[in-house]
């Protein structure tokens, strides 16, 4: 019963993430929009790695591709890569203090953007380069906020150095 409710909560949170990723923003702050799906999946794969699998990353990516009209598989591949890396190294990363975790997240989000950019380039689509740097930065801030809000583990056992 509890597991079932949790399953529904997961689905709802993922759908809400997709909605966040496509809610219209004013032109002024639109370039600052974090990559919501990547941020949320990274949070789960670092904090509760067995909660969402690679399959979730794949389907979320496909949904995002459909929603944003990107090449089918583009976001899916980028999400797969960062979720795989986060999942693989989460044991090593979880002992990091927040500052180092934030740098790791920034690097992973940067990698995500880079893969998207690379695929755009190979597919011959013209995209600006400079604005690509902003979403990983805002995404990292959002990730840290989520960490401070939701992570109970830290309060129970302050294993910081």
């Amino acid at each position: 019963m509890a597991a079932r409710r949790q399953w529904w909560a997961s689905i709802l949170s993922l759908v809400a993430t997709l909605a966040l990723a496509s809610v219209p923003l004013p032109d002024m702050i639109a370039p600052l929009r974090p990559d919501w799906v990547a941020v949320v999946l990274l949070y789960w794969s670092l904090m509760a790695p067995r909660h969402f699998s690679l399959m979730t990353a794949f389907w979320m990516g496909i949904a995002l591709d459909t929603l944003t009209g990107a090449l089918l598989g583009q976001n899916a591949l980028a999400l797969l890569v960062i979720v795989y890396l986060a999942d693989k190294f989460h044991l090593r990363l979880r002992v990091f203090p927040l500052s180092q975790l934030a740098i790791t997240v920034l690097l992973l989000l940067g990698l995500y953007e880079f893969i998207l950019f690379w695929i755009d380039g190979m597919a011959g689509r013209t995209v600006p380069l400079i604005e690509r740097w902003l979403p990983p930065l805002t995404g990292t801030l959002v990730w840290c906020a989520m960490y401070m809000l939701f992570d109970r583990r830290e309060r129970e056992a302050p294993a910081r150095l």
């Binding site: 639109a30 089918l72 013209t126």
Partner: protein
Amino acid sequence: MSAQGRTGAGFGRSGFSMGVRFLLLAIACIALMLLDRREQHLVKVRQALSLVVYPVRVAVDFPFSAWHSLNDTFAARDALIAENREFRRERLETESRLQRLEVLERENERLRALLDSTARVGSRALVAEILSVDLDPYRQRLDLNRGLVDDVFVGQALIDAQGVVGQVVRVGPLTSEAVLITDADHAVPVSINRNGLRTIAVGTGDSGRLRLPYLTNNADIVVGDLLISSGLGGVFPAGYPVGRVLEITRRPDQAFAEVVAEPSSSLDRDREVLLVWQEAEDEPAAAEPASEAAVAEAH
């Protein structure tokens, strides 16, 4: 929740190790991208997927459309009366202009009959609402609330009250996706209304700007020239305003002038656009190359 909470209950957990699963999924992604690249292999898959994400689109759009309808419901009486008066005045103006247009249309038909060329075809239009959904931030795209059920097709032209807006690039069952004329990957065949000079207007990625990169330094173009769709290429119906020339830079050391134009339609303010069906009688495209050849001969 704890890390070892529910190992077996995830989505699609299989017996493979993590690395193998990652590789398989990554290969699947690459295969999808290769198939999707040419746009036609995955049309059915795309349509099915767009139906799956339809609820998300509607949910995101809902607060915005609700706000609009609320605004309509509670609009003040004075504002409505003022608006109504404005519309009446506009209608009068438009109708008087339309009378002249009808005479001109008749005349045009007669002249075309004399020249033995195909008549301009009538067109059908349908109002489509733009869904308030942000698509790829780096591209100028729109989501429309019309799809296959309304006979929308890929390559269909989109106009608004002021001019050409864009064209449909992908059609789902209930929604469709359009690209604006200002998208960096989009180009419209245009002609200059004043002298019929043909060229191509290319998008810049900025919703207030178009470029005309294929005009030589001595081309007859001045600031303020109206660009209309030329109908070449067969996507956009001929004769709709596309933009107005904003600035021209002629550099003696360059073969081509740098011409910037401003789109006529209010691309980033629209909430509704018109989908146009050109009812093709005899292919109008067949007549165009002939006239182009005539122009080339005249030169």
